[in-house]
Symmetry: C2
Subunit: 114 residues, 2 copies
Amino acid sequence: MGIHLTEVENAAVVLKLLGDKTRLMIVKLLENNTCCVCEFVEIFQASQPSVSQHLRKLKDAGIVTEERRGQWNFYSLNRDYDYYSLVEQILKQLPNQDHKFKELEENGTRISCC
Amino acid sequence: MGIHLTEVENAAVVLKLLGDKTRLMIVKLLENNTCCVCEFVEIFQASQPSVSQHLRKLKDAGIVTEERRGQWNFYSLNRDYDYYSLVEQILKQLPNQDHKFKELEENGTRISCC
DNA sequence: TCAATATATAATAATATGCTTATATAAAAC
DNA sequence: GTTTTATATAAGCATATTATTATATATTGA
């Protein structure tokens, strides 16, 4: 988080990052899961670069962490993040989205990596 | 809130609105106070139209309410707002900012209306 | 009625954002 | 080693956002 910013300003940065439907859904899905890029591409029916760019913003901010496993990059919620409690409280207000993963499986579109 | 939007999408709209340091501070200050525009102009050292435009966005979304009293427009947090619990939880994560009002009084810059 | 005060609104310009397309990288499979 | 798969990055463009400047409105008080 930038130097010289107040707590409120830092929080505003976090909220702005979560103030995008794709990123907010990514973070909500990561609440209970570790996912690789391909799953998000399927779930959002979005382009790979678009998803990748959203993930990079979240990673650069420290909200999520990235872990390379072979060909795949797995993303997780960073529970050591300075503003994790803010993120946590926001996620608690949102309905569970884990059915998205089941839909992928049912459609047979769940990529084998994940 | 727009039609056809999911709960997560609606929440993203709220977070985007609060993802601006000026608007987030406005809403935090309104947590315990009812304020008119001139106070915000003083506190933020911002232009009157800038503050007015931020307040309009918050009002249009339903996050705050506006009440005309004579020449002045007083703004309050809308506790009947659909996503008030989300707003409330976010504000709980932020440090109290009521000292801002005391600073105005001490500087003698607190406008008489408020 | 006229001037002052408080505020809203409109127009504009600068900047930021998010997507697409194209390309680069890196690991795995053959 | 060449191809395939998964992903990242870069460039470009369209749109959105925010501040400024100028102006309009509405209330108050002389």
